[in-house]
């Protein structure tokens, strides 16, 4: 159940996620050099528009990407009707987005 539009959306969100994930890992490796503490992480992220945009975009891309991926698995496993499948996919995407954004806000709000 993947038409060209969903396929493109999934590829494009993958292209967005890849550099963001690498950036995340690079900063992690750099930041733990002098030991790791919650206070240190929060001092970097809190009130930072950059890190809000960085992780906000990542969460958005993950939500779209993951929802489309699960949609395929759900359809091929359970063979639902389109209406139900679309509804479920939106709900899954929304759950990813809400939980993800909640976490992003928790570390970036000052």
């Amino acid at each position: 159940m993947l038409d060209a539009r969903l396929y493109m959306l999934q590829r494009i969100t993958a292209l967005i996620m890849a550099p963001l994930a690498l950036g995340h890992i690079a900063v992690m490796i750099y930041a733990i050099q002098g030991g790791l503490s919650a206070a240190e992480i929060l001092s970097r992220t809190q009130g930072s528009l950059f890190w809000f945009a960085f992780y906000g975009l990542f969460v958005l891309a993950v939500s779209v990407h993951g929802a489309i991926g699960l949609r395929v698995i759900i359809y091929e496993t359970f063979g639902m009707r389109a209406l139900l499948l679309n509804g479920l996919s939106w709900i899954i995407g929304a759950i990813f987005l809400l939980t993800g954004m909640r976490a992003v806000l928790a570390v970036t709000l000052s």
């Binding site: 159940m1 993947l2 038409d3 060209a4 969903l6 396929y7 493109m8 590829r11 395929v72 359809y75 091929e76 496993t77 063979g79 389109a82």
Partner: protein, 242 residues
Amino acid sequence: MVTEKENLDVFVWRGLAETGRFERYEVPAQDSQTILDVVSWIQQNLDATLAYRFACRVGMCGSCAMMVNGEPRWTCRTHVRKVLRGNQLKIAPLRNLPVIRDLATDMDPFFDKWVAAEGHHHPTRTRDDAIEALDPQSPERRAANAGIECINCAVCYAACDTVANNPDFLGPAALQRAWTVHNDARDGDQPAILEAVSGKGGCHNCHSQGSCAQYCPNDLNPMTAIAGLKRASVKSFFKRER
């Protein structure tokens, strides 16, 4: 190895898809015996009502495919020796297609999807025009050539798990033909092909795990053809956006 005069233990699917069952037959083993030989022997010597399909017996017509010990095979070119398990053979109708009776499947869905994938020629010239010269070395022609030996046997279609789980999926053979036609310099409607393979049963559903290429008796690679279609559709997506 089967020694001569030994009997094969053959289980053949009889009846309809839901109510049918495997029946056991003993078939004398012979040298260079094919699965189709075994099925024909049963039909000629044990039960004349056995329904199955074949025509050319030399791997040209694509009508004899069946599931043999759980795997799709062209039965006229599959040697018993190669697929025998213990002394047993289990022969069933082709997977992913409706069963008519016994070993005969209804191939209509398979061929309907060829048409749905626009896997047919879209002419640009009339009989009055000169025949177009083709460069056999051009990349497009090579890509087209890679798929033209398809015999429509539906072995790949039976091997494809995406077909099994998504009844709308056009399947490896139809999509490969669409890619062949798309690459044919003489074809006049590439946008229609891309449109046809971009819907909810289109090329984008392929998981690229290659069962089709693994089982194709002609060593064709529908998976690669489908990857080509995906690339072409991405290209045309960006062109349309601009």
